[in-house]
Symmetry: D3
Subunit: 144 residues, 6 copies
């Protein structure tokens, strides 16, 4: 590590595909259809998500890197791809039993999973694309 | 229409999202998992599909166009988006009860749906992207 | 609304095409040509603009969303597409009678139009692409 | 040149921005609006066009190239960019006095301009993107 | 395999990065600089290449697929990535000792490597992007 | 210049290709291979870098611009393209004799080169893409 007077932000993108359904069990079917429209479809639908993970830190003098990319990629594979790729978010994961699997909620789940495992630099930002025209960004709850 | 000595190819892209599952009911669960891997996941997974529809013809002397874009877009909406967008290909459409919903099979289904409704020019090619690294192309059975 | 300790940023992209001309009426034709170059062309030229609208807020517990996407899309259509799509910025809108229709000025106009109509969350950032190599960002005058 | 038993296709992309208006002077204003819709807007609108020029030939044994890229780029600059970039297709060029400046017609004009100047290999295909969802392709009149 | 009356084209993209230098040893340094310009730089330069491999065939009735994607990806990894990714084309491979490592020549080398190993369908086309504005396509010598 | 109460951020993208090698001379060959993997390849490898330069300032009332784009492009050409395009970062520049030419280090070098020459507005951010899945951002040492 260096003297702390330089901060670099490094971002790695990864893609995964998943399906989901928006449905609030406290509402009637009519209310769900009215609010969620096509996203309420009983059998779900899916997306090719693109996740951008940004870490911040000072590059090492020895390696010139903020983080070892193999380490970062391993984290992203274990915490994100292994859990969500080629899966149904509502049915194949425990995270959306009581939350709607919107991108807003999914990105918070991913933050919790990744933040605990980033060492030597800090998780700065997640950007999650649901399709090429729509994305959410999250900077952790400290930013609230 | 013109004198037939000029052929222009016009392509319109549209995106839709859907989920699907690869499963051959004639096989055991083990065989399905071995052949289809993650695509055999019980609850399915999903994609943002991109469809490129190419029509061929001579531009009209009056309009300079091969096809009226509003007409083309209406066809694509009615035949493709209304059927497949925000849907589960296996469960929400009649086309994949006995066929695996691969991109190879889906593009043939879409060809049948669109070819019957293109008038004044001809359907030349469909290109269907399953994700940014994978696409199939189909030119109709005559090309076989 | 939630307890305010979580902020999510949601961005929606939309494309529109328009033409414009850079010309400062207080200058001579020579001065205009010298400063604005090809952008001073008498009959104008055009672009496919891409606008990214970012809103910030806490996701609703009921819907998991920062903003209803149908509402956001309606705002963007009424305030941006209906005014500027397939238009000449100088001649078909009242906003550039005394201002040069650069992306820097256009994004400020769009901010004023959108900020007044975003409710339940706040307009955080606009990013306006003039072409794939050039974009401007604006966070509202409070950021100045 | 080689022995003629190998054909390589090389494609170079270039971008230019221009404005245009669809209007058929033989029709009433009402008919023009009905057929061309927003594209009939009196003051025009514009696009960032992307042109892909494909030449075909055998790579030179000395250089390993189908065409000298500097030569190709010079042709594209002189014949396409110098004529159409930052211009109004109807008003700043002689080609659309009696033809509607659709992409179908523009690509034919560009073909005539480029084909006459490609030497040592042949012009094979032009692809012209009007926006990221719409493009036309032309292979010359011989393909008709 | 099916009855042969349907042909589907499936394309898979992969990216690799490599460096190279254009230099014809039969020429003087001056001639090399004149012809190859910056590409003649003594220490080479590099690119993120994107390779698109297209195979053609009839989808299997059992799997709905033209080719097993795991098999295709394995071929591409072994024949292309393992040989060229993170390598210097001139110095780390035997293929460019007497040929200039242009994209035109590289795509022919890749064709020979892949064509011999595609079974159950046929290699139809390779498209090799050198950068986002330049690509070559090759259909095998039979196309010549 | 204006009254300072409005800040616009303008970003221009440019692409260049270069090769490099990661090697720490204080380490053994084994250690270099273990840490840097394929990036330690003796003859180097290369990338198509994309650099995004963001400047911040108030648009001029006369021109509607934060910076004259011709001036910005000239800076980027002289300071970045002329130094690094079609070059080997380690061998053709003086900047990486004692630093590993990672994107983290390269972006700092570019910041020093550009910041000294931006006048009338300030350099706000550099974003450097090494490939379409990886980029670094730097806001200058003041941000540390």
């Amino acid at each position: 590590m260096g003297t702390g007077d330089v901060v670099l932000y490094l971002t790695k993108r990864v893609e995964f595909c998943a399906s989901h359904r928006y449905h609030n069990p406290q509402w009637s079917d009519e209310e769900n259809r009215r609010v969620f429209g096509k996203c309420n479809n009983l059998h779900g639908h899916g997306h090719n998500y693109v996740l951008e993970v940004t870490v911040a830190g000072e590059p090492s003098r020895q390696t010139g890197m903020v983080i070892d990319l193999d380490v970062l990629q391993k984290l992203m594979t274990e915490e994100v791809l292994d859990r969500f790729d080629h899966k149904h978010l509502n049915l194949d994961s425990p995270y959306f039993k009581e939350r709607i699997p919107t991108s807003e909620n999914l990105v918070q789940v991913i933050w919790e999973l990744l933040a605990a495992r980033v060492h030597g630099c800090r998780l700065h930002r997640l950007r999650l694309w649901e399709d090429p025209t729509l994305y959410v960004e999250y900077f952790g709850s400290a930013a609230g």
